[in-house]
């Protein structure tokens, strides 16, 4: 049946039809929907793991047990899961194991723009790269065949434009292969030096076999046209190339990006006058071609940064500039902001007022760094807030005493904050850690996590109690505050900063976008009392603006949280019952 599907949804359909039985992932834009869509099939066991390393190890265990498995993550998630990846390349699999990694060229929702293909090359694991939804679907199915034939996990690399674009997919039925009974095999699966030494030659031999496969498999195809230009490309870049050249240029479309073929490329190059490589981010195909002795155009004209597009390709390869109208006006930018009623806002306002150095983390609350709050000093990677505040305070000692906090969300804390917290408790820095517990994984679109008490299907599940966990790690001082209560936030923050031992503050209130959180009526501005002092606007709430010298509330946005009311000394903001 033909239907319009998001790339990630098509990927999940491919997993389903291939008979995948176990899915474990950690959410991360743009990979999240693969797992969310897989969870809609009752025949697949699906879960959110606390982090990507756990997810990959769960998938490994499941394939070892003899059933096809999957784990999904974003590009930076693969760094977290790199440890199991590099060694399960050695052990290989029993039943097939497929990994999705979704890159984010253009950084729509990421902290860096790394190219995941490096991980495939370094771990010596095959990587496929679909260019639309139909391919995401078909490659997911084919990946299991490759995994089982070559005894290896297989990575499928998505990118934002493939993951989050809908295109037409022709689907089929689910076929579950027989379970491959687990057999004890210490030499294959116990990676201690004596065994790993014997597995490494297997990995090298496997790569040679995969190169031979890449030379004439259906994943890599040649489309012949005018031989004056030959373009080697993959992923969404292929679609941009087709948009510009249609059937006029020669194209070598690579669906398997690691390992890369050799004869196929040399043969293609020999048939065209000039070779151009079109690939986003790093010059991986290009360097491979150069190593084969070919002279090619690539990063000499194309950028290493950001996304490509049809106009860019027309300009760089054909010298054609796009024509369009321009408005002669400087328009104010519209950056993302914390939602109106976001529970994080009150806490960040308190941090700003107390002029502390804030070591931040990854999530919606990274928006605490945006003006006018500007209450975040550092954001590095998942969990880094807690580990780096310890280093910061150890380095400065007395000097930073009572002047720093770490802020981390509930999901990020479960992902990789706990180990940092253990380090603070163990090596004793006088650090204050704030867990922003909004009872959900927010930025990626509301996924459950170990602290919420629900699983991926929304059914009741195990629930980790943050207070007890912090106590168990050795923290005596653990306080819960409501971030809507500014006076209480301020009192608790001052108290914990002054304490002479490490402490945890849990700022707890569910995300305002959760369905069970019922908005209150919007606040009302009493115009006779408002003097236009703009005190309320220091919160940076998108529902408040100034109209004719007075505060104005956008009633379509305001959820009646009442935080702004606490900043108005004239009582000009009124809650409505």
């Amino acid at each position: 049946m033909k239907q319009l599907m998001l790339g990630n949804q098509a990927f999940a359909r491919g997993l389903y039809e291939a008979g995948c039985c176990v899915v474990s992932s950690y959410p991360g834009t743009p990979s999240t929907e693969v797992t969310e869509e897989a969870a809609k099939f009752d025949d697949i066991y699906c879960e959110w793991a606390p982090n990507e390393k756990v997810a990959m190890e769960v998938a490994f265990g499941a394939c070892l047990a003899g059933k096809r498995s999957f784990c999904g993550m974003k590009h930076v998630g693969l760094n977290v899961a790199a440890d199991p990846l590099y060694t399960c390349s050695y052990t290989g699999v029993n039943a097939g194991m497929v990994i999705c990694v979704a890159d984010d060229a253009g950084m729509h929702s990421s902290q860096n723009e790394q190219d995941s293909r490096h991980h495939a090359i370094a771990s010596k694991v095959p990587m496929l790269e679909p260019s639309d939804s139909q391919e995401a679907y078909a490659f997911a199915k084919l990946a299991y065949e490759i995994s089982e034939t070559f005894d290896t996990p297989v990575i499928i690399k998505m990118c934002t434009r493939v993951a989050h674009s809908q295109s037409i997919v022709d689907t089929a039925e689910r076929v579950v292969p027989p379970v491959k009974a687990y057999e004890k095999n210490i030499a294959k699966y116990v990676m201690m030096p004596g065994n790993a030494i014997r597995r490494h030659p297997f990995v090298e031999e496997r790569t040679r076999k995969l190169i031979a496969y890449a030379e004439n498999c259906e994943l890599n195809r040649v489309e012949m046209g005018d031989t004056r230009l030959g373009i080697i490309t993959s992923s969404t870049s292929y679609q941009y190339v087709k948009e510009v050249f249609g059937d006029t240029a020669c194209i070598l479309k690579l669906g398997m990006i690691n390992p890369l073929p050799e004869k196929l490329i040399l043969d293609f190059a020999s048939k065209v006058e000039k070779v151009a490589i079109v690939e986003e981010l790093d010059p991986i195909i290009e360097n491979h071609c150069k190593a084969l002795g070919l002279e090619v155009t690539g990063k000499d004209v194309f950028p290493m940064e950001g996304e490509y597009s049809q106009n860019m390709i027309a300009e760089k390869l054909e010298g054609k500039a796009a024509a369009y109208c321009k408005l002669d006006e400087t328009l104010p930018v519209r950056p993302p902001v914390m939602c109106s009623g976001c529970p994080h806002r009150g806490l960040f306002y308190t941090l700003k007022q107390n002029k502390v150095t804030v070591l931040g983390d990854i999530g919606c609350y990274t928006l605490g760094a945006v003006a006018p709050l500007s209450a975040m000093d550092v954001t590095l990677c998942m969990g880094a807030s807690i580990s780096s505040i310890h280093g910061f305070n150890k380095a400065l000692g007395e000097e930073s005493q009572g002047k720093t906090v770490a802020v981390i969300g509930d999901s990020t804390f479960m992902h990789s904050g706990m180990t940092g917290l253990a380090n603070i408790a163990y090596n004793q820095s006088n650090s204050t850690v704030i867990i922003l517990d909004n009872s959900i994984t927010g930025m990626t679109g509301h996924q459950q996590n170990p602290t919420t008490g629900y699983n991926i299907k929304g059914d009741p599940a195990g629930k980790i109690n943050l207070e007890e966990l912090c106590h168990a790690l050795g923290f005596n001082r653990v306080t819960v505050v409501d971030p809507y209560d500014l006076a209480e936030c301020d009192r608790v923050l001052k108290e914990e900063l002054a304490a002479d031992e490490p402490s945890v503050i849990i700022s707890r209130r569910p995300c305002v976008l959760l369905k069970y959180v019922k908005p209150k009526k919007p606040l009302k501005v009493l115009c006779d009392k408002c003097v236009g002092c703009k005190s309320c606007m220091r919160l940076g709430c998108p529902a408040i603006s100034m109209k004719n010298g007075k505060a104005a509330i956008d009633t379509t946005l305001c959820v009646g949280c009442g935080v702004c009311k606490q900043l108005c000394r004239l009582g000009a903001l009124e809650s409505q019952e």
């Binding site: 319009l4 998001l6 729509h108 809908q166 104010p332 993302p336 939602c339 679109g445 703009k534």
Partner: protein, 190 residues
């Protein structure tokens, strides 16, 4: 037929995903090849958001580039102006006249530009501007701005209203169907 391009632009949270879902469903039923490209994640949090809808005999690129859009459907005035460069020479803008202050305007670092629609029209661009928020409220919910705009857009397509209605039925939850039908009709007739 050459590929046609519709850009849907607005502020994160305004409901552009439903609009693109509706268009995708409709155009697929009409027998076209269709690609719809969305933005998820951080940009959705009140930022400027763009969705691309492309249809024709065979669609390759999932995105619309500068100078390519046949239509820009905008949920907000400033956002209509922001993407003018993406419009084709003879393209058309269908926009809501609602103004939502971005953060730099809220903090006083910038001002909301004035007379944007007439400035766009001075470039020779056809602009169909209307107060979709009032019409959505008239239909029963401020959230129906997206469907009011779809109703308006439908005027420029040679697709029977029944087909649009079938798409609405397929894409909107049953309990909101009547409200959205009303919003669609108000947009189309306004």
């Amino acid at each position: 037929m050459n590929t046609k391009n519709i850009m849907i632009v607005g502020v994160g949270g305004q409901g552009s995903l439903l609009a693109s879902k509706l268009l995708g469903y409709l155009l697929l039923q009409e027998g076209y090849d269709v690609k719809v490209s969305e933005v998820h994640g951080m940009s959705q949090r009140g930022g400027s958001v763009v969705t691309y809808v492309r249809f024709g005999e065979k669609v390759y690129s999932p995105i619309i580039d500068k100078g390519e859009a046949d239509f820009i459907v905008s949920f907000e005035e400033l956002e209509a102006a922001r993407y003018v460069e993406y419009l084709k020479k003879d393209g058309r803008i269908v926009t809501n006249t609602q103004q939502i202050d971005p953060m730099p305007v809220i903090t006083g670092a910038a001002e909301y530009p004035t007379d944007l629609i007439s400035k766009i029209e001075k470039l020779g661009i056809a602009v169909d501007a209307m107060d979709c928020l009032s019409l959505a409220e008239e239909a029963g919910s401020a959230k129906a701005v997206n469907i009011v705009l779809m109703g308006r857009l439908s005027k420029y397509f040679d697709i029977a209203p029944e087909k649009w209605d079938q798409a609405l039925e397929a894409c909107v939850p049953a309990k909101f169907l009547e409200l959205n039908r009303k919003a669609f009709a108000l947009g189309r007739e306004a």
